[in-house]
Every structure is written in structure tokens, then in C-alpha cells.
């Protein structure tokens, strides 16, 4: 439903900008006007959200949504973002918290749209009580969720065409990255580290799926059923599994680096440590599901290519 709706708007906007006679693919009852797409109704995670007018004072409580908003050109409509939204650098960071949202503090920015990821309790109903439309964008379970969320923000902010461009570009780039990888002849294994107590991800998580896209095998999959996709692995298991690659998503939180990993007791015998296969990541990029997943995937693909080159040599 959302897809068809967005498709309709995108087609309309394309029509308006190119001036070419294309047959609109959307529902026939769509109003053929690009200037007044509002009000719009979006089928979001928190139910149908109706936005009456073009929002100009958006409050984003989710770092990922902030990245998406700026990527689709809605940055100048953003009034305030939460304290964890550190990208892009010109986002209007405030001390608003996305973990423990304070509705009164949010309302003080006079928002005409609030975007958030998690609702610890009454956020949605409290904003509804104040007549502020609120759009929930929970953590993505798959890449398709990312595309849907970007498209939703496009419609919600009147930037549907740009959102479509961003999504198309992401799809194309991801296709070209995964297409550039030869399927490995023998399994290339990896361990993705969330913190320095060895919390990891299984292939069922969003992050794990990215690694699967380039044909990597996850050593944490043995621990399926434990930790709902985020198991804490035993050090001795990691040493014994001997992964080809170690991805560190704890460089910022916990100060980990290829050097600190090599210094851990027993870890110096792991293939990844011996062959420069410990890849430091930006914690933020590796924990968000915004447009920068493309950079993340590229980093993974480069690492895989290097391992395979070394194996071939």
C-alpha cells in the first residue's frame, strides 16, 4: 500500500520535473499536482499517521532517521535532533534524548512532525494528545525496511522524489558491490564484535544479513537461539573458530583496535589477527540502518576481497 502510494507520488513528481508524457503508474485517483501533496497518510510502525501540512519544524529522536532526513534533502526542515544524532555534522543537535524522551522538552521546539525509533511507553500517545504527528521508524530487520523508511520520510516531508532517488542509488550501489564479489571457493568466516565483552550478532540480524550479502559465514550462528540474535560469545569459542575476519564495531564505545585485539590472551593465534584481517569500523555506521549502510557494505566487501587475494596468493 505504502509502496503504491509512494510510487504514485514519485511518478507524478517525475512527470512534473521532466515535462514528458509518461503514463503514471500510481492509482488513477491520484491528484496530478506536485505542489500540494498534503495532507498525506503514512502506514507507519505506529499505525496510520496523517500529516496535514508540509512539515517545517521536524524533531528527530533517532540518529538513523536524522541521517535519512538529511540524505533526502529534508535537512533544512529539521528543527532539532536528539543527543545521539551526530551525523551529518550540520544536524541541529540538542540535548533531547531518544532513549528517555521528555515530551515537554520535545514540544518546546514546536514540532509539526516527530520521528522516533523506540517508544519507551507513552511517547506516541502523549504526542498525539498534543496534536503533534509522530512517525515511528523502528530498527530495520532487513534492507527493504530501510528503503521503506526512507520512502516514508520522503512522503512525510514532501521530498518523495529525492527519497526515491536515494533508494534507487542505494539499490544500485549495493547491487554493484555484491556483484563485484566472486563467491568464495572455501568459506570465509567472520566475527562481528559489538563490545569488548564479545557480544556479537547472528546472520538473522540486520547487520548479519549485510555480511551474508557478500558471502561471509558468521561464527556466531552456532549460538542461534541465544540472545535473540545478539549472543555473548565465549572467548575460547572465538579463538577456536579461528575467523578469517574480525569486524570491530566497538572502536568508539570501547576503544578497541586491531592492536588491542591482538593483545587479548590467546587471540594472537586467530587467522584474522595473524593476517591483518581485523577491520575497525565506525560504531555508529555499524549500528544504524541509514543510507551509510552502503559505505559499510563496501568496507566489508573490500575486506573480503583482500582475504581472497591473500588466499589466492
Amino acid at each position: 500500500m505504502v509502496h503504491r502510494f509512494i510510487g504514485g507520488i514519485a511518478a507524478v513528481l517525475l512527470l512534473a520535473s521532466c515535462g514528458e508524457a509518461t503514463i503514471p503508474q500510481g492509482p488513477p485517483n491520484e491528484e496530478p499536482s506536485s505542489t500540494a501533496p498534503f495532507p498525506v497518510t503514512i502506514e507507519a510502525a505506529n499505525g496510520d499517521v496523517t500529516i496535514a501540512a508540509h512539515p517545517r519544524r521536524i524533531v528527530s529522536l533517532s540518529p538513523t532517521s536524522t541521517e535519512m532526513l538529511f540524505a533526502i534533502g529534508a535537512g533544512d526542515q529539521v528543527e532539532a535532533v536528539d543527543d545521539q544524532s551526530n551525523y551529518p555534522s550540520d544536524a541541529p543537535v540538542t540535548d533531547l534524548s531518544g532513549f528517555e524522551p521528555n515530551v515537554e522538552a520535545i514540544a518546546s521546539y514546536g514540532p509539526d512532525l516527530v520521528v522516533y525509533s523506540t517508544d519507551p511507553g507513552d511517547l506516541d500517545s502523549a504526542l498525539e494528545g498534543l496534536g503533534i504527528p509522530a512517525l515511528q521508524q523502528p530498527a530495520a530487520a532487513a534492507l527493504d525496511d530501510v528503503y521503506v523508511q526512507i520512502e516514508q520520510l520522503g512522503v512525510a516531508t514532501g521530498n518523495a522524489a529525492e527519497a526515491e532517488v536515494v533508494v534507487d542509488r542505494m539499490r544500485t550501489e549495493i547491487r554493484s558491490i555484491t556483484g563485484s564479489i566472486e563467491p568464495p571457493s572455501e568459506p570465509v568466516t567472520y566475527y562481528h564484535e559489538l563490545d569488548d565483552t564479545y557480544y556479537s550478532v547472528t546472520s538473522s540480524t540486520f547487520i548479519g544479513q549485510l555480511y551474508s550479502l557478500v558471502g561471509l559465514e558468521n561464527i556466531a550462528d552456532e549460538a542461534k537461539g541465544a540472545g535473540g540474535g545478539y549472543p555473548q560469545l565465549s572467548a575460547e569459542y572465538i579463538v577456536d573458530a579461528d575467523p578469517n575476519l574480525i569486524f570491530l564495531a566497538d572502536t568508539k564505545c570501547c576503544g578497541q583496535s586491531p592492536r588491542t585485539v591482538a593483545a587479548r590472551p590467546g587471540w594472537d593465534r586467530i587467522a584474522a589477527v595473524e593476517n591483518a584481517g581485523v577491520i575497525p569500523l565506525d560504531d555508529d555506521v555499524a549500528s544504524r540502518w541509514g543510507p551509510r549502510v552502503v559505505d559499510y557494505l563496501r568496507r566489508i566487501a573490500e575486506a573480503v576481497a583482500e582475504v581472497m587475494e591473500a588466499k589466492a596468493a
Binding site: 543527543d83 545521539q84 534524548s97 532513549f99 528517555e100 559489538l194 563490545d195 569488548d196 565483552t197 564479545y198 557480544y199 552456532e222 549460538a223 537461539g225 541465544a226 540472545g227 549472543p231 555473548q232 560469545l233 565465549s234 572467548a235 575460547e236 569459542y237 579463538v239 577456536d240 573458530a241 579461528d242 568508539k252 564505545c253 570501547c254 576503544g255 583496535s257 588491542t260 587479548r264 590472551p265 590467546g266 593465534r269
Partner: protein
């Protein structure tokens, strides 16, 4: 063999068995025969064992077993000592604000310290926090509340713990990105233990446990009552201070390397009392032996129950400890009746 010697011998045997079990059982299968030969030859890699397996035994399992043993012994011995000087069966090593202080220290180190140095700063800050927490509770209990009784000390501890926890929660809430680090520390962190942790914990544990050992006879006297002990010529205030300092030192050392592991300080001493009577001449050494064995075995469960994933050890001590404790209480109740 007297009942006392038998109990000690049993404790030694159980501890030895748990150390062997701790070395042999883990998520990575290592042939028990080869592992035993490795242990007997003090780390020579026997045939049939890969270099990787020898490294797992030497660098991961052995330090983990030793730290678990040190932590278990510290928490149990401190628990027994606290129960004596406060004459309160529910007193445990965290009673006087040690846990809250350690939690605050660790949180400050994670929130404001350089992330590259956590391995050193977090244990150190936890140690300082635990000692300061107890210091504050002791000061408050002695002066602020006017009395010298054990009750005023406990009340002081409760006040200090609430205050420090509030500060910790505030800092954590202001630095939401540190949540995960702090929580994984609070739930116990034997999963990353290495030889350096054993080195950090060992000196304080040895000093503290030896001190408690030396005063074990006096603990029997003080448990009767302050007035009675004083009439026997004992300086109750000074003895209580010595015991609190020693037990807190042991607790702080344990907390600094292992995080907060609850319940050990209550269940082990009480189980020991059921086994060997309530004189501290037995309770203290047996608490050391059985406390060490208990935590080593719990750690085996922590790393094998959902292998290759881990369960935070603090979760298991409470999960196993609480029902076990109730059973022990019921048995002792029936015996007393």
C-alpha cells in the same frame, strides 16, 4: 578424623575437583586425557593437542578458573565476616555500599575515562568506589547516626548505597552511550578474564582473607553481643573496623575484576554452617574453600549452558542461589524445631 578435619578435607577435595572440571569443560572440546596431561606437566603441550587448544587452556580457561576461585573465596569469606560483626544473617559483602560504590566508580570510568584504557581504569575505579562507599557508610554509621551499634552501620550503608546509586544512574542517563558497557560490567564479566585480572585481584584477596582468618576466633566472641565481648576485654569497635576494612578490601578486589556477582556471600557461609556448625573457626576457612569451588562451577555453567554463547555469571548465582538458599533454610528450620 574429627568432624572439623573431615569438613576441611571435603572442602579441599571439592575445590580440587571443581578446578579440574573448570579446566576440562568448556564450549571448545578438548580431550580430557590430553588436558589432564597438560595440567600435570604444568603446561607442556602433549601430543594430540593443538597449539590452539593449549592456548585456550593456558590463556583463557586457567586464568578464568583462578579468578573465579579468588572472587568466590573473597565474597564468601567477606559475607561470613560481615554476618558475624553485624550479627545479621542477611549481611553480605555488598551491604555497606561496596557494590553501589563500585558501580559508581566503574560508571565514572566508562563515561569520562579514555576508552582505550578501560581494562585498567574500570577495575581501578571500581576498587576505589567500593572502598569509598564502605568508608562513607562507616563514617555515617559511627558519627552521623550517633550510635556504635551494628544497626546504625547497616542503616548508614543503606543510605550511602541509595545515594551512590542515584548518582550512578544520573551519570549513566546523561551518557546514554555508556549503558551497554556499564551493564555488561554490572552483570559480571568473567568472560574476558585474563592473567592480568588475577594479578589485580590476588594481593588484596590474600591480605584480606588472611586478616579475616587471623581474627576468626574473635568473630565467635563478637557474635554473642557487643557488651558481652567488651566484658571479655575485647575492643569491639576496633575489631569491627578491622573486619570491615578487610572484608571490604576483598569485596572491592573481587568486584573490580568480576563485576557484581550477587548472593555468593550469603548462600555459601550459610550452607557451610549447615555442614559444619556455626563456629567461625570452621565457617571462615570452609567459606573460602566452598566459595571458590562454587563460583568456579557456576562459571562452568555460565560458559557451557548456551555454548558457544555465555550467560552473565551474576544471573546464574542468583538463579541457582535463591532456590538453593530456600531449601537450606527449610532444612535448618526443621532441624532446629
Amino acid at each position: 578424623m574429627s568432624r572439623r578435619t573431615r569438613a576441611i578435607a571435603l572442602g579441599v577435595a571439592v575445590l580440587a575437583a571443581s578446578i579440574v572440571a573448570g579446566l576440562l569443560v568448556g564450549p571448545v572440546h578438548i580431550a580430557p586425557g590430553a588436558a589432564l596431561r597438560w595440567l600435570i606437566s604444568f603446561g607442556d603441550q602433549p601430543s594430540g593437542m593443538s597449539e590452539q587448544q593449549a592456548a585456550i587452556l593456558a590463556d583463557l580457561r586457567l586464568p578464568r578458573v583462578i579468578v573465579a576461585g579468588l572472587v568466590g573465596a573473597s565474597l564468601s569469606a567477606s559475607g561470613a565476616a560481615y554476618q558475624a560483626v553485624f550479627r545479621n544473617p542477611l549481611a553480605d559483602p555488598y551491604l555497606l555500599g561496596a557494590a553501589a560504590g563500585a558501580g559508581l566508580g566503574a560508571t565514572i570510568a566508562v563515561a569520562f575515562g579514555p576508552s582505550t584504557a578501560f581494562a585498567v581504569t574500570v577495575p581501578l575505579a571500581a576498587f576505589i568506589g567500593a572502598v569509598s562507599g564502605v568508608g562513607m557508610a562507616y563514617g555515617l554509621g559511627r558519627s552521623g547516626l550517633g550510635g556504635r551499634s551494628s544497626t546504625s552501620l547497616i542503616l548508614g550503608g543503606i543510605a550511602v548505597a541509595s545515594f551512590l546509586t542515584a548518582v550512578q544512574t544520573f551519570i549513566q542517563q546523561q551518557n546514554a552511550d555508556t549503558l551497554r558497557q556499564v551493564y555488561s560490567w554490572i552483570l559480571g564479566r568473567l568472560g574476558t578474564t585474563g592473567w592480568d585480572d588475577a594479578g589485580i585481584a590476588l594481593p588484596s584477596v590474600v591480605i584480606a582473607v588472611t586478616t579475616l582468618w587471623l581474627v576468626r576466633r574473635l568473630l565467635d566472641v563478637i557474635e554473642v553481643g557487643d557488651l558481652e565481648a567488651e566484658s571479655l576485654g575485647l575492643n569491639v569497635g576496633r575489631l569491627r573496623l578491622v573486619v570491615v576494612v578487610a572484608a571490604s578490601l576483598a569485596t572491592a578486589a573481587a568486584v573490580s575484576v568480576a563485576g557484581l556477582i550477587g548472593f555468593v556471600g550469603i548462600i555459601v557461609p550459610h550452607t557451610v554452617r549447615l555442614l559444619a556448625g556455626s563456629s567461625y573457626r570452621q565457617v571462615l576457612p570452609l567459606s573460602v574453600l566452598f566459595g571458590a569451588a562454587f563460583l568456579i562451577l557456576v562459571d562452568v555453567v555460565a560458559r557451557t549452558a548456551v555454548a558457544p554463547a555465555e550467560i552473565p555469571i551474576g544471573v546464574i548465582t542468583a538463579f541457582v542461589g535463591a532456590p538453593f538458599f530456600v531449601l537450606a533454610l527449610r532444612r535448618s528450620g526443621r532441624r532446629a524445631a
